[in-house]
Amino acid sequence: MKTMFSSLRDGRGFDVGLVAFPMGFLFLLSGLPLLYNVVMSVQEVDMFSLGSFARPFVGLKNYATLFSQPETWPILKNTAIFVVASIAGQFLIGFGLALFFWNEFPGASWLRGLFLVSWVMPGLVVGAIWNWILSGDFGVLNYVLRSVGIISGNIFWRSDPNFALWAVIIANIWLGISFNMILLSVGLSSIPKDLYEAAELDGAGAWARFRTITLPMMRATIGAVVSLGLIFTLQQFDLFAAITSGGPNNASNVAQYWAWDLSFRQYDFAQGATISVIMIVFVMIASVIYVRSTRQEVRG
């Protein structure tokens, strides 16, 4: 004990302490639940065995059961559509806005800051607001689309199986735009201005400069934004709870909402855990891409 304190005092071992504290915290509050989740996915779990850890081992039976259910593939497909469409929308609009505010017109940074408001709003509040906007009879979105002449009759966004998933995607894109924009703005502002001047003198027009300077210099940032976007969209739960609750008839159900539904409403913890494990794999892939893209930053 005495040697431990002295090593803390003279600085040796202090680094170990600094690392050990957050590592312990992460292991206790993230690592253990993760492992527990993986263990549950290979066990038979019901309401009565929930309290004990020693439950019957069933191997991959839960996975087999999961994929034999008729709703599994449609829900995984919904998840894929939700993730791809959300990230594409958030990224493209966010990048467009970042490029727009990069022009440094009067008030640009101030306006850009205001966009963060959408990101600090709780998902449930955003969901409630979008419920009004998307409302079939008196929603603003239908009104606008009708006025412009795109649709002739009202779309019942939340209850029409063809549109329910897209209702959540639209809300999720809105929620994620500002985060994408801020991160991409930081990336843009870190590109040295003289590269553009050199490219201009070398004969590059606006589009050529974007293609040969901006995009390659933004590769690391884009990788980070897209992989963080994948993680955040796979986490998105509040909007489903607030807007469609996964309905109608699973038309807007996605893996993360389904896992919660199975575990905490149908009390099928094993199935819920199984879905979560599948999602962990995807998040891990995204994390690896994220870590790699931030490590390989281009330096001049």
């Binding site: 040295p192 001047e197 050199a198 490219a199 070398d202 590059a204 050529a208 300077i213 390659p216 330096r299």
Partner: protein
């Protein structure tokens, strides 16, 4: 000689700040022009205006006879070497070199062949597959120059390209840039705050201050016959000594030093001085000569105490006078100690005289 770049009555304002004031400058084809001056004098702004990176507020610019005042940079056919080099960090040396050609629609095969050739004479042959971050400062400098010369533009602009290099490399790159200029027969405009660079590299030196051209001409003309006190003090190292003086008669002055020594000046055809007229005498440190104590009775001589001795081995720098603000450079070594009194003399033809009010040469 024909004019390659012509500026007439060029002005640049940044809001209320007047950065360039009525600049008139003609740059001959094939010449090497240095823009020199202290920081904030407008030399970089002038260079960037030539490139089109800054819009000139008023005036006219022509390059090779064509009106270029409002033409965007990429259509001016001008290449620039930046202070930071501005190499594309995500491209290899070869990709950096061929970029200006590719942007002008040259095929990849032809561009690569040209890159090989340029790499040959810029000393980059073995480095074509490297990235800029894997290069030393001098190598990056060469890539920046290679990228500029590869497409044979109408003019090369250099914006303090050597300021990020160490002293030894700076001297050798100085020669390389000048050799490259001669080899290509190009027109070059070179911005620097270092008057040694300007004097050694350029055919024509333009000295600027506060957005105004103070004087332009051949390097040695600026040294031998500075038009005003600013140019006199800026060109030459160590800087010229300025001593208040008063005319005794048409061709001699009394320096405002202890004993009011009188020295002769050679007016070289200029109007004789009016007796009693106040002037500032400019004496270059390298023109002051130490004479033996015995010849101290010489009409031209005056005596000053030594304050500080700095020797580099080949040269000795002396600070003289009660406050040590008169400097002198001597070749070889001087066995002196602070407090020793030195008798000095100067050739009447090497004394510069300026008006104390306006700073103009009289």
């Amino acid at each position: 000689m024909t004019a390659q770049i012509e500026l007439s009555q060029v002005n640049k304002h940044y809001g209320a700040y007047h950065a360039l004031k009525d600049i008139n400058l003609t740059i001959e084809k094939g010449s090497f022009v240095a823009l020199v001056g202290p920081s904030g004098c407008g030399k970089s702004t002038l260079l960037r205006s030539l490139a089109g990176l800054e819009k000139i507020t008023a005036g006219r610019l022509t390059i090779a006879g064509a009106e270029m005042t409002a033409v965007p940079p990429r259509k001016r056919d001008i290449a620039m070497v930046f202070q930071s080099y501005a190499l594309y960090p995500h491209m290899t040396v070869e990709e950096n070199l061929i970029y200006p050609l590719r942007m002008r629609g040259v095929s990849k095969t032809n561009a690569k062949a040209k890159a090989q050739e340029v790499a040959g004479f810029t000393g980059l042959s073995g480095l074509l597959t490297r990235y800029p971050r894997q290069l030393s400062g001098g190598q990056r400098q060469r890539v920046a120059m290679g990228r500029a010369v590869i497409r044979s533009p109408k003019a090369f602009l250099f914006d303090e390209p050597l300021s990020n290099l160490d002293a030894a490399l700076r001297v050798s790159m100085r020669k390389e840039i000048r050799a490259l200029h001669d080899r290509l027969g190009a027109t070059s405009v070179y911005v620097t705050h270092d008057q040694i660079e300007a004097m050694t590299m350029a055919d024509h030196v333009v000295v600027m201050r506060d957005g105004v051209i103070e004087q332009q001409g051949a390097p040695l003309t600026l040294y031998d016959r500075p038009e005003n006190r600013f140019v006199a003090g800026f060109i030459g190292s160590p800087a010229m000594n300025f001593i208040a003086a008063r005319a005794v008669d048409g061709a001699s002055i009394a320096l405002d030093l202890p004993g009011q020594p009188v020295i002769a000046v050679d007016r070289k055809g200029a109007a004789p001085l009016a007796p009693g007229q106040a002037v500032t005498a400019g004496l270059r440190p390298e023109h002051l000569r130490i004479v033996d104590g015995e010849s101290g009775s010489d009409h031209q001589a005056f005596t000053l105490p030594v304050r500080l001795i700095e020797s580099t081995g080949s040269l000795t720098y002396l600070s003289l006078g009660d406050t040590g603000d008169i400097s002198l450079v001597e070749h070889g070594r001087e066995h002196l100690r602070p407090g020793d009194r030195l008798t000095l003399t100067i050739d009447p033809g090497l004394v510069h005289l300026f008006d104390p009010e306006t700073g103009r040469r009289v």
